[in-house]
Amino acid sequence: MSTVEQLDLNAFRTGPENRIFSGRDRGEEVRARAGLDKTEERADTVQVLIPSDTFTLNLSFFLGLFTASVKKHGAAWFNAHYQFTGPEIQVKKIPTYVDEAVKESIPLPGR
C-alpha cells in the first residue's frame, strides 16, 4: 500500500497577510522545519499544497525547498514522487522550476 504525506505550505507563511513564497533561505528553512528529508524517504508520494490565495510561489523559494531532493534523487524521481496542488497559475511554473533545480544539481568544475 502506497503512503501519501502532505506538505501544506499554509503552515509556513511568515504571517497571515503573506501571500508570497519567496527567498532561498526561506525555502531551506521550511525544508528543515517540515523535516522533508525524512518525509520524502518515508512516503511514496508527497503532496505539496499551495494555498489558494498565494500571489506567487517563486523560483528562489522552490530552489531552497527542493534542490536537495532533486540533487539527491534526480528529476525523474522528483516528478514521480511529488504532486503539487493549488492555483493553476502557480502549479504550471513547477516544471520550469524543476529544470532549474536540475541545473543547480549538475556538478561543474568551479574554475
Binding site: E17, R19, I20, S22, G23, R24, F55, T56, N58, L59, S60, L63, I89, K93, T96, E100, K103, E104, L108, P109, G110, R111
Partner: protein, 195 residues
C-alpha cells in the same frame, strides 16, 4: 725559485686553480642565465595564457552579457510600464471582482517572470562556461529581482506604496550583474591565481 731556502711560487702552480675557478664561475653564470631564461619564458607563457583567457572571457561572457542585459533593460522598461499602467486601470475598475484584479496582476507578474526566466537561462549558461560561482551569483541576482518585483506587484494589489519603481529594480539588477562580472575579473580571478 729558491730564495734563502724558501720556495716561492711564481704563479705557475696556481694556474690550474684559476682555470677551475673560471670554469665554475662560468658554469654558474650559464646555469643562472638558463634559469633566468626559463623563468622569463614561463612568465611570458603564463601572461599570454592569462591574456588569451581574459580576451575569451570578454568575447564569450562579458560582451554577450552586456548586450543581453542592455537589451532586456530596454525591452523591460517598455513592457513593465505598459503592464503597470494596464494594472492601474484594472485596479480602478469597479466592475471587476477582487479575484479578477488579482488574476490580472498575477498575469502581468507571470509575463515578467517568463521574460526574466529566458534572460536567466542565457546569462547563467554564459557564465557557466567560465565559472560555477559566477553563474551562481548571476542566478542569485535574477532571483532577487524576481522576489522584489513579486513584492512590488503584491503591494500594488494591496494598495501599499512601493519605495522603488519597477524600472529602478531593473536598473539595480543590471548594475549588480555588471558589478559581479567586474569583481570576478579583477578581484576573484587574481586572488585565485595568487593563492
Amino acid at each position: 725559485m729558491d730564495v734563502a731556502g724558501i720556495t716561492v711560487n711564481c704563479g705557475k702552480a696556481s694556474a690550474p686553480a684559476t682555470n677551475w675557478l673560471t670554469i665554475i664561475v662560468g658554469g654558474l653564470q650559464f646555469l643562472l642565465s638558463l634559469l633566468l631564461t626559463a623563468y622569463v619564458f614561463r612568465k611570458n607563457y603564463k601572461q599570454k595564457a592569462d591574456e588569451r583567457q581574459a580576451s575569451w572571457f570578454h568575447k564569450v561572457v562579458v560582451d554577450k552579457t552586456i548586450e543581453l542585459t542592455a537589451s532586456y533593460d530596454d525591452g523591460e522598461r517598455k513592457f513593465l510600464s505598459d503592464g503597470v499602467e494596464a494594472c492601474k486601470i484594472i485596479l480602478l475598475d469597479a466592475n471587476l471582482l477582487p479575484t479578477q484584479k488579482t488574476e490580472a496582476l498575477q498575469s502581468a507578474l507571470g509575463l515578467f517572470q517568463d521574460r526574466l526566466q529566458s534572460l536567466r537561462t542565457s546569462l547563467t549558461n554564459l557564465a557557466l562556461i567560465f565559472d560555477k560561482e559566477l553563474a551562481d551569483k548571476i542566478l542569485s541576482h535574477t532571483l532577487t529581482l524576481d522576489d522584489l518585483m513579486s513584492q512590488w506587484f503584491l503591494n500594488m494589489e494591496m494598495g501599499i506604496p512601493n519605495k522603488q519603481s519597477p524600472i529602478e529594480l531593473i536598473s539595480d539588477f543590471h548594475r549588480d550583474v555588471l558589478r559581479s562580472l567586474r569583481l570576478f575579473e579583477f578581484q576573484d580571478l587574481p586572488e585565485r591565481k595568487s593563492a
